[in-house]
């Protein structure tokens, strides 16, 4: 791959994360992760539960800090960022897509999509306009005013993807995005990720335990017991499928 010519978006160096579960015991969850994700890449992180996937995702997502190591996200040194600056990093650099959608209840789809822009201080008109465009992009243009409880799982996840795109983040971080969906709906959601990747050149990090979905990406990173044990190219995704 011609990765070297591309700009690194995520640059993790020797990331370690230890949890204290009462001295002298220390649980080493991540044992020196070195990982670089380049601009426009679609990467899958696979691994069994307990492999450290979630912890890695939390660190990449700036929700958690590593015990040691270096992390530069889109030219921003996350390690040296103050706690108060982390929320800004999450807001502008990262778009989260969760397994359980995590839409805000009693708030319609459009306003859910607007939310990250609200925290970014985007004006009301601009916010609504962008949210509408994103809803169209994920094929939810006809359900903007629906409440989350009026939407199916797949529809909720599409709204969540639109929300992740709101502030045009450096990466989209998707944690088991199809985990709660049936295979058909899951397919639909995956197609949206492919679309964002191909058409918008989005950098996407997909965390999954499904080998089939991981194969669709450009690069598979396999995690086991807190270490990267394998890294290879995926089969890629054919639109015709």
């Amino acid at each position: 791959m011609e990765n070297e010519s591309r700009k690194p978006i995520i640059h993790l160096t020797d990331i370690r994360k230890n949890f204290f579960i009462g001295t002298p015991n220390e649980l080493k969850v991540l044992k020196g992760i070195n990982l670089t994700v380049y601009e426009g890449e679609f990467v899958a992180v696979v691994g069994a539960s307990g492999s450290g996937k979630s912890t890695l995702m939390n660190i990449i997502g700036a929700l958690d800090r590593p015990t040691s190591g270096g992390y530069v996200l889109d030219d921003v040194d996350v390690i040296s960022a103050k706690d108060s600056e982390l929320s800004g990093i999450r807001n502008k650099k990262i778009g989260f897509v969760f397994q359980t959608y995590n839409l805000i209840a009693k708030t319609n789809a459009l306003r859910n999509v607007e939310m990250p822009m609200l925290y970014a201080g985007v004006g009301r008109k601009e916010r609504t306009q962008r949210a509408e465009e994103l809803m169209e992009l994920v094929g939810m243009g006809d359900r903007m005013k629906h409440l989350p409880e009026e939407l199916s799982g797949g529809q909720k996840q599409r709204v969540a993807i639109a929300r992740a795109m709101a502030n045009d983040p450096a990466i989209i971080l998707a944690d088991e995005p199809t985990g709660a969906l049936d295979s058909e709906t899951g397919r639909l959601v995956m197609d949206i990720f492919h679309k964002l990747h191909k058409e918008q050149g989005k950098t996407i990090v997909l965390i999954t335990h499904s080998p089939e979905l991981a194969e669709e990406t450009e690069r598979l990173i396999t995690l086991k017991d807190g270490e990267i044990v394998g890294e290879r190219e995926g089969h890629g995704h054919d639109d015709a499928v």
């Binding site: 807001n91 009693k106 990250p116 609200l118 925290y119 502030n167």
Partner: protein
């Protein structure tokens, strides 16, 4: 600013989502605020009514009367030598000429019926000085008051009321002027000439009552003329009005000193007391204020209990919305945003409760005012106090839960089931 607006919208949203719970939470605030408003507006209207009524009775006039000395311990009785007399008052009037606007001395001659053809008017014959009309706020409808010459010479002139004219001259005051009045007192008849008609004032009108049509009214004759009928020159009491800008308290003291020094220094039983109604009003108003504040403190405790209810429900709400908080944090909400969101939610609960309480309390206050026949006084002060108190309670009791939400670990919160 934008966040503030969004937060208010969000808070209203979350209240609407839990209508019953929100209402129950507000109840404490509603009860507290409505009691404060009701009590304060009732207190205000009672005070206002009181001063109105008292001023109608001449709050700025000073009564001068005889009383037993406090230290006197014997039998309570008056001798004629104990009483004030005309010479004494003339001396007094001259002494305080620079500070007094009017002196009223009245002498009630007696009640009688005046007949004219088939008509009869009930009157109380009242000897009066020129100052009486000013001090008792008697307004002339037609004709004139007495002249100084008439009072000095005890002229046989009379001033009658509009009620008298209604009965005797079909309400035509002009017809009464120059007409004669024959008064029968103690078996003797006296003839007076009407020179003036005064506006009859129903003393009870202000209290929503009427004295009726066939009411006995004062027929004023010069003070000296009255003294000539009853053959007395003794004065139990009189009323004076101070000039504008005169220190009333000092005047009262000086007047008491005057009588003490020149006339009553040798009288071990009786002395002259001067008294102003305004001091009574001051005392009554301050009493009402004290009671109002006292009850308001109790209502404030109700508000405090309401505030604790708000805090309780906010803690419940935050626990329920843990995932939402986690999501918001993941989407980039800074801790301060989360904190403000929940503080505003608590403030909105308290403010809406406060507004309902103000409406409710004003209603209660209006009912109380209607029962007391006073005009309802929607006290702006009470409304402002209530609203700021509600806001303060929202901020105070909302802060702890909001801070708890702000400090949640986003990872834990996202994982919360």
């Amino acid at each position: 600013m934008m966040m503030l607006y969004e937060n208010f919208r969000l808070a209203l949203f979350s209240l609407k989502a839990n209508k019953m719970r929100s209402l129950l939470t507000m109840l404490g605030i509603i009860i507290g605020v409505s009691s404060v408003i009701a009590i304060m507006s009732a207190g205000d209207s009672i005070s206002a009514k009181l001063s109105d009524t008292m001023e109608g009775f001449g709050a700025n006039n000073i009564q001068i009367y005889l009383d037993f000395r406090e230290e006197y311990d014997g039998d309570y009785y008056y001798d004629y030598t104990d009483l004030m007399n005309r010479d004494m008052l003339i001396d007094f009037g001259q002494h305080f000429n620079d500070r007094l606007k009017a002196i009223s001395v009245t002498s009630e001659v007696g009640a009688t019926d005046v007949k004219r053809d088939k008509d009869a008017a009930k009157v109380t014959v009242m000897g009066a000085t020129l100052g009486t009309f000013l001090i008792d706020d008697v307004k002339l409808k037609d004709g004139r008051f007495f002249t100084i010459g008439e009072t000095d010479t005890a002229a046989k002139v009379a001033i009658v009321s509009t009620k008298y004219v209604d009965t005797m001259y079909a309400g035509k005051a002009k017809d009464a002027l120059g007409e004669g009045v024959t008064i029968e007192i103690g078996g003797k008849t006296y003839k007076f000439t009407i020179v003036g008609v005064y506006e009859y004032k129903d003393a009870f009108a202000g209290m929503g009552m009427s004295s009726g049509d066939n009411v006995r009214t004062n027929l004023y004759i010069p003070y000296q003329a009255a003294q000539n009928i009853i053959h007395e020159d003794y004065i139990f009491n009189c009323t004076v009005m101070a000039k504008q800008g005169v220190d009333q308290e000092q005047l009262i003291k000086d007047m008491e000193d005057f009588f003490e020094k020149y006339y009553y220094s040798n009288n071990e039983r009786i002395h002259v007391v001067c008294y102003s109604m305004s001091s009574v009003i001051d005392e009554a108003t301050s009493l009402i204020n004290t009671v109002t504040i006292g009850i308001s403190v109790i209502a404030g405790i109700a508000l405090l209990v309401g505030g604790i209810g708000v805090m309780n429900i906010m803690l419940v709400s935050i626990t329920e919305r843990t995932r939402e908080i986690g999501t918001r944090k993941a989407l980039g909400a800074p801790n301060s945003s989360i904190r403000i969101q929940f503080i505003i939610e608590a403030v909105v609960i308290c403010l809406i409760g406060g507004m309902i309480g103000i409406l409710f309390g004003s209603g209660l206050g209006a009912i109380a005012a209607a029962l007391m026949k006073t005009s309802p006084m929607p006290s702006l002060r009470a409304i402002l106090i209530s609203l700021s108190f509600s806001t303060a309670i929202g901020i105070f009791f909302g802060f702890y839960p909001a801070n708890k939400a702000a400090k949640m670990d986003p990872i834990e919160a996202l994982r919360y089931e």
